[in-house]
């Protein structure tokens, strides 16, 4: 059931003396929307370029669908679609002609398939317009369309919402969800936008300075370790004193009469009991741990997001 379709084994890439990617081991399982998270310059794009055979690894191995990418390049790439960084196209020809050309690299794609894909990305009515007349959002959607052209089982998307306005970002995220749920396509999604990964991914890996920091289930990773818990309670001072006295609360902060404490998720019932038993009226306990907190923890504040 959990069939790994993308695996890297000690994957490394060195540019002169600098390692852009070092000993990277990641695994993507069929059906995943796999978030590949890291600050700018962490090695995400280099990894993706290696996965799409644009860059040759210095050492290590890439297995896609259980086959070595280097040895079975064409066979493996037939089953993959990719969008690397900016969605660049042949601007002087139409979207339809672009897709027709890309389709020819797969051995030819019928007109009906191209039109169906353009319908999925909502560009059917503009398919005969030259790409140079497209907005950035339209090009981004066309970028996803070209990734779909070969009817892929796996799509690798490198920062697909980059440069889009909030509406465009929402549309692309919805499209990613649709591709995963309705079309059973496994998605490998790189981003430096933490909430994006949180919103669409079920599993993720964090990369920093070319090395893997951690990988796993997004919710499990978020639920492990300490959480930031916001508490609204009256009387405020008394609540703060009680919370400070609890052994499992390491730190408290006051933010506009909202007490913020840091504690593992399991301690919240005990924390609530202590307040209630001491006649403190609790109006809200909000455990929050965003991926951003987690990410910053993991990358030790080197993120530029």
């Amino acid at each position: 059931m959990f069939e790994p379709i993308l695996q890297t084994h000690n994957l490394s890439k060195r540019f002169k003396k600098r390692f852009a990617v070092s000993e990277l081991n990641i695994e993507v399982v069929r059906g995943d929307v796999f978030g590949f998270l890291g600050p700018n310059g962490a090695g995400k794009s280099t990894t993706i370029r290696m996965l799409l055979s644009l860059i040759n690894p210095t050492s290590g191995k890439i297995e896609l669908f259980g086959k070595n990418l280097h040895k079975h390049r064409s066979e493996v790439l037939k089953r993959i679609g990719g969008l690397v960084e900016k969605p660049d196209f042949y601007e002087h020809i139409s979207a339809y002609d672009n897709l027709k050309f890309i389709g020819s690299l797969f051995g030819g794609v019928p007109q009906s398939r191209i039109e169906k894909i353009l319908e999925i990305v909502k560009l059917l009515d503009r398919m005969n317009d030259k790409v140079k007349t497209y907005s950035h959002g339209m090009k981004q959607r066309l970028g996803i369309a070209q990734a779909l052209i070969g009817n892929p089982e796996l799509i690798i998307l490198d920062e697909p919402t980059s440069g889009l306005d909030p509406q465009g970002m929402k549309e692309v995220r919805e499209l990613i969800r649709t591709l995963s749920s309705d079309h059973n396509i496994t998605i490998f999604l790189s981003s430096h936008l933490l909430y994006e990964i949180e919103l669409v991914s079920n599993r993720m890996a964090i990369i920093n300075n070319g090395s893997l920091v951690i990988q796993g289930n997004v919710q499990e990773l978020l639920n492990s370790g300490e959480h930031r818990v916001q508490i609204k309670a009256e009387p405020y001072e008394k609540a703060e004193q009680i919370l400070k006295s609890l052994p499992f609360v390491k730190k408290t902060e006051n933010r506009n009469n909202v007490i913020v404490v840091y504690t593992p998720l399991d301690n919240i019932p005990a924390l609530n009991n202590s307040l209630v038993e001491n006649s403190v009226s609790v109006s809200a306990i909000i455990p929050r741990r965003s991926l951003e907190d987690y990410f910053l923890e993991m990358t030790e504040g080197t993120s530029d997001v």
Binding site: L54, E85, D88, Y90, F101, L105
Partner: protein
């Protein structure tokens, strides 16, 4: 592969820069014909003045063939520039546009992609030389008529009209091989960089340097000359010698084709290992 070749050709023929060469020929050749037409009589008379003392020239020597020969002489230094404009952009243009990423992450080998692109530029070069031939001979026939060919090279030679067609056919094939080498060189340079300007300037620089060395009558350069492709550029002129030195024509054309193959193979070797960072 043929389908991709057709689509690749469609792609380059949708680009404005592809037509610069054709437009240039469409402007320059009629202008040259007009200028020759206005001055042509005097031009031929001056060239044959000494011979006219002893011989009577019958028929029209200032004709389409004479003009086509002159046009080839005049333009074969400039045509390479028009070719490099497109050939230099074949790979570097993909890098500039960022389209390497969509092209090279597909289930088709880089060698095949290079082969398709190479055939496309060879096709373009062939069409350009074809247009040069059709325009200069066609317009020449319309405006200046038919006749024997007066060749003014190291000596004055008049070639009979019944030999002209095959001589021109061989001349254009030889000239085309020379232009294929130029296209191959620009294509080779184009694989290294991410901007077409470098390959265009690089190819023209190599061409100018090689042409100077090839044409310079200096002993010092003699050992180098057989290795320069420009030494065989004038193969087309050999078609207008009498008698025709077939062995030399075949050898020179073979050398030029060998340069094309060699340059293409170097391109493949380099490009297969290239990291796409654009």
């Amino acid at each position: 592969m043929f389908k991709i070749f057709v689509l690749e050709s469609h792609k380059i023929f949708k680009k404005w820069r592809t037509y610069i060469g054709f437009i240039t020929l469409a402007v320059v050749i009629p202008l040259m014909i007009l200028a020759f037409k206005l001055e042509g009589g005097n031009f031929v008379n001056n060239a044959t003045r000494n011979l006219q003392r002893d011989f009577i020239f019958v028929g029209n020597l200032f004709n389409a063939w004479f003009i086509a020969h002159l046009v080839m002489n005049s333009l074969f230094v400039h045509i390479p520039f028009l070719i490099t404009l497109v050939a230099g952009d074949m790979l570097a243009g993909e890098a500039t546009a960022g389209t390497y990423r969509i092209l090279l992450s597909r289930p088709i080998s880089r060698t095949k992609i290079l082969l398709i692109k190479y055939f496309t530029i060879i096709f373009y070069t062939t069409i350009l030389v074809g247009v040069l031939a059709v325009l200069s001979i066609g317009l020449g026939l319309i405006f200046c008529g038919d006749g024997d060919l007066l060749v003014m090279d190291r000596e004055l030679l008049i070639l009979p009209g019944n030999e002209i067609w095959w001589r021109f056919a061989i001349a254009y094939i030889g000239a085309l091989c020379g232009m294929w080498v130029v296209a191959s060189l620009a294509f080779f340079f184009s694989s290294f960089v991410e901007n077409a300007i470098g390959p265009i300037i690089g190819t023209m620089s190599v061409l100018i340097i090689f042409l100077i060395i090839s044409e310079m009558p200096v002993e010092f350069f003699e050992p180098v000359k057989p290795y320069l492709f420009t030494s065989y550029f004038s193969v087309w002129r050999k078609a207008f010698e009498d008698p025709v030195n077939w062995n030399q024509i075949i050898n020179w054309i073979t050398y030029l084709i060998a340069y094309c193959v060699g340059l293409f193979m170097y391109t493949v070797i380099y490009f297969r290992r290239k990291d796409i960072l654009s």
